[in-house]
């Protein structure tokens, strides 16, 4: 049973048995993995507070042959991101970030850049004045990095360079499609203005450090949010809880 030490961010944690938790991490060295924290829900356990979602920590794990679950033996806290626990807007936005990482990354496929992006995304969110916008940019960047880059230069179906005055975004095809291909799509496409396509293209090709300088409002923001939302649903294979999940509508 080799011991593994790695930096990790908690993606999800759920109750297991009488007093245990099964925790999904995204780790620097091993990528996404699941581990069992024995007795974590007991009062005397030191693990409980360290394996809450969004926590950045240093993990000591044991791998058990023939078992897909690691054994969590020790956790050292780096950053609890405590602010997310006190604010529903930040909490649901951070929830969307970790949910998307969990959905697009397979277990046992390490990608240190994704770990760094998630850590930086959560840190940016802490300082953000517009959590929904920060989360949208994070999603566009993550999709671009993990092989789900939305096609913005040519038709995602036939490859023809598009010059349509009213481009259509097809979540099933994974990007902009020409008018002819749009009419053949089994699911409804989202109409995007030229400005929205240009914004999406810029967001996908901009240097990560400069990404947070990008701004959009009105029609462009609404269209891009709608297109990314429908695309994420296709990529994840299910509808992820939206950024305003607990804050939209009455009474909150």
């Amino acid at each position: 049973m080799p011991l593994v030490k790695t930096a990790a961010i908690v993606l999800h944690s759920r109750k297991w048995g009488d007093a245990d938790r099964i925790v999904t991490f995204y780790t620097m060295r091993l990528g996404k993995l699941r581990g069992v924290a024995r007795g974590a829900r007991r009062l005397k356990s030191r693990l409980g507070g360290m394996i809450e979602p969004f926590t950045l920590c240093q993990l000591d794990l044991f791998e058990k042959p023939g078992d897909s679950l690691y054994r969590i033996s020790q956790v050292a806290l780096d950053e609890p991101f405590a602010k997310f626990r006190d604010d529903l807007t930040l909490m649901t936005a951070a929830g969307r970030m970790v949910n998307l990482v969990s959905a697009v990354m397979a277990e046992g496929d390490p990608e240190p850049r994704v770990f760094e992006m998630l850590e930086s995304g959560l840190r940016t969110l802490l300082e953000s004045r517009d959590a929904a916008w920060t989360t949208l940019l994070f999603q566009i960047r993550l999709l671009g990095m993990t092989g789900f880059r939305p096609q913005t230069e040519q038709c995602a179906t036939c490859g023809q360079v598009h010059r349509s005055p009213l481009p259509q975004f097809s979540p099933m095809a994974g990007g902009i499609v020409c008018e002819r291909c749009a009419s053949r799509q089994p699911f409804r496409c989202t109409a995007l203005s030229r400005g929205s396509v240009a914004f999406l293209h810029q967001a996908l090709h901009m240097q990560p450090a400069l990404l947070n300088r990008l701004h959009a409002a009105g029609q462009v923001r609404t269209e891009v949010e709608s297109a990314i939302e429908s695309y994420v649903t296709v990529v994840a294979g299910r509808r992820l809880p939206p950024v305003d999940f607990l804050t939209s509508g009455s009474p909150v």
Binding site: H12, S13, G17, D18, L43, K44, R46, L47, G48, G49, M50, E52, P53, F54, L77, P80, A82, F84, R85, D86, D87, L88, M91, T92, G95, V98, N99, R239, L240, P241, F245, L246, P251, V252
Partner: protein, 200 residues
């Protein structure tokens, strides 16, 4: 030996496997135990299960487990009706009662909000709590959900839901367990306990 064929024993194993925390091996062990047990013992278990399903339901007022329309706490005239303690599941209620010290009423949410799993306000009994507050007579609502992300989300949501109705909403304290050495406490609990300090 695996009970994987069709038949009465396999049917019992299939039913036992559906229980929380029971895997295939445990289910087989329980099934064989029941098979070897005296008929009276096995029937007593069957009758107890049937009696629970026939005789117990959720309290109309607080959603605790009840024999009849109201649970024992909602029926008790000696309980302080100006306080409602909100919990996630009925099992928590009995832990608080065992501890003593609280003489108010309860409200069981039968769930908890989860921003990660998409469990929203319509999936828990929050509206029923609001109705109780609106009905009047309640001065304080104590939110005693677990100190997890889900429990905190629920606490914040309930605070926003209830505050406009001029009721005091409080949260149970975080801190070091009684009898424990502070040096062995985890960092998150330590920080929370310092933040939640009180005057002496």
């Amino acid at each position: 030996m695996s009970v994987d064929q069709q038949g009465l024993l396999a049917k019992l194993v299939r039913e036992l496997v559906r229980l929380p925390g029971i895997g295939q091996k445990s289910a087989q062990r329980l099934a064989f135990h029941l098979l070897k047990a005296e008929r009276e013992d096995a029937m007593r278990l069957a009758e107890a299960i049937q009696a629970v399903k026939d005789g117990l339901s959720f309290c109309r007022q607080c959603r605790n487990i009840a024999e009849g329309e109201l649970c024992e706490f909602c029926r008790d005239p000696k309980r302080d009706r100006s306080k409602i303690l909100v919990i996630e599941e009925p099992s928590t209620l009995y832990a608080i009662e065992r501890a003593g010290g609280y003489r108010g009423l309860y409200h069981v949410l039968l769930g908890v909000l989860s921003p990660l799993d998409g469990v929203g306000p319509s999936d828990i009994r929050a509206e029923e709590l609001l109705d109780r507050v609106k009905a009047g007579g309640v001065e304080e609502v104590i939110v005693a959900t677990n100190p997890t992300i889900e429990g905190e989300a629920t606490a914040i949501y309930l605070t926003r839901l209830l505050k406009p109705h001029h009721v005091r909403v409080t949260r149970i304290a975080y801190g070091i367990p009684v009898g424990m050495d502070i040096e062995y406490a985890d960092e998150v609990t330590l920080v929370k306990s310092i933040e939640g300090r009180r005057d002496l």
